[in-house]
Amino acid sequence: MTGANPLPNRSLLKLVAAAAPVLLVLILVPGVVGIYQLQLVIYGLIAAIAALGFNLLLGYTGLLSFGHSAYFGVGAYSVAFVVEHVGPHSMEFYLLVGIPIVAVTSALFGYICVRHTQIFFGILTLAISQVVYSLALKLYWVTGGSDGLRVPRPALLLGLLSFSGPEGFQQFVRSYYYYVLGIFVICVILMWVIVHSPFGKALQGIRDNEVRARFLGLRIRRFRWISFLVSGTFTGVAGILWVPLNGLTTPDVLYWTFSGEIVFTTLLGGFRNFTGPIVGGIVFTYLRTYAVASTEYWQLLLGVVLVALVLVLPTGIVGALSRAGQRLSKRNAST
């Protein structure tokens, strides 16, 4: 592709044209699949939101966080606290309370972590997330320890939809699917705008060449900090959405292996593409579910997939697909 920059309106149009069929399929999904499958898709969308947030740091800012479980977990636990001590069982209320808590936590931890880069950054994020994990485990009178905290089914849309009775769970899953899908779409649009904004371009500049970015007058650390804040908040929103469906939050979602899953998810989809983490989130959810269902050595299976991924598909599923697509269109053009 040489010549002039594609006009902004056209690139936006192309995006909408690509996203519309996917969205249509997602809207039609509940009519086709059963409750169990629908739950999996919801978990997939939630994982996609978490990875999307994570990838703002990895793919666009060039910082590998190994502690994003902290923000997912803080999202989940803040909802659980709210349910236990105050407030109505309303999803909007959960989000209203959860998002600021997650944002403040990300801002605080991010402020510490962005003092360093590369491996030191990774270790700091890991260490902080492990501190949060230990607190959740040890302060059992607040957090329920290893049993965690239960979160009952919330009402949706300001109490317009509430779910009780024998069919309550099924009804909840069907409605909640659209609820999560809606928030997923909002998150995707928000993130797309952020990475294509002047701020997003600055992040990518910092990722590519810190020295040069400094000599454009950019204040590197501040950009990394804000990127961290946004990233953690997105992942936290995923945690907030996850907990009502799971019905329970335990320290597992704060443990470092869960951070590893977020990294895995993003690598699987491809961290160099905007859509990579989204595809990764859904594929990973299915991959893990079927691995767990089919063998007790499921972790081994995932490990093999990870090794194969790094060796064969370093750019992830989306990276490999887009390369194959380019090759195909080149071949078509030449014949």
């Binding site: 920059n5 902004p8 371009k201 990518q204 590519d208 007058g217």
Partner: protein, 251 residues
């Protein structure tokens, strides 16, 4: 009119005196070349003035304002920009975005998160204009990492130029390209810089290039100034000639 002045600027690396109490003057509007063999201290001097390094002692004055202890960001705001000897670009971004990022940064627009960068028509127009001036208009959509060396050198200068500096330092804008390309690059750079009324300080090894494009030439040797004058004066200087012939001229 003096734009920038250093007062006995010192910088030492171990035993090596890279800047040996330098009193360096840049006049408004001139195209100045810094020459000298490798290790003469040219890049160190530029690093000190652009805040890439801190001096051991001495002062840097921009129009009589002491900027010795200001940060990189502050110096860029004050109008000092630079390019790099080893090309320093945002390789993952398009050619267009490399220059656009400069413009966004200069205008303080990089804080904007809720607006698409491509929708900013003012920045877009300006970035395309700068790219056109540097002959890169046909490459805007290419990733900077995919450019040929000569184009990369030009883009490196364009990124610095897009900051609209008053004083632009170019560290070997023609290193690593063929002799043929050298002239092309310098033709482009000097015409854009002169056209934009930007004061430029160029570090350059190729004396043909230096004599052809400079208003003034300052020669360094082992951390000190050896000669200072117009191209004709430098050509006539016996001491300079002996150093130039005695020392390797290229990297």
């Amino acid at each position: 009119m003096i734009l920038l002045k250093t007062v006995s600027l010192w910088k030492q690396f171990g035993e090596t005196r890279a800047c040996n109490g330098l009193d360096f003057v840049v006049n408004k509007g001139e195209f100045l070349s810094l020459v000298g063999s490798n290790g003469a201290g040219k890049t160190t001097l530029v690093n000190l003035i652009s805040a890439h390094l801190q001096p051991d002692s001495g002062q840097i004055l921009l129009e009589d304002r002491d900027i010795t202890f200001t940060t990189v960001t502050e110096r860029i705001k004050a109008g000092i920009a630079r390019s790099f000897q080893i090309v320093n670009l945002f390789d993952g971004l398009s050619v267009f975005d490399n220059v656009a990022l400069s413009v966004f940064s200069r205008e303080g627009k990089t804080v904007k998160m809720a607006r698409l960068a491509d929708r900013d028509t003012d920045v877009r127009r300006e970035a395309l204009e700068v790219l056109g001036q540097f002959g890169l208009a046909s490459k805007t959509a290419v990733a900077a990492g995919g450019l040929a060396q000569g184009e990369r050198k030009l883009l490196d200068v364009a990124v610095a130029y897009a900051l609209r500096p008053r004083l632009l330092f170019l560290d070997e804008p023609t290193s690593g390209v063929s002799t043929h390309e050298k002239a092309q690059i310098m033709d482009t750079v000097s015409s854009v810089v002169r056209g934009g009324m930007v004061t430029a300080v160029v570090i350059e090894h190729d004396m043909d290039v230096v004599f052809r494009y400079s208003d003034r030439i300052v020669m360094m040797h082992e951390g000190s100034f050896l000669a200072d004058g117009t191209p004709d004066e430098i050509r006539a200087n016996k001491e300079v000639a002996s150093i130039l012939l005695g020392a390797p001229l290229t990297d």
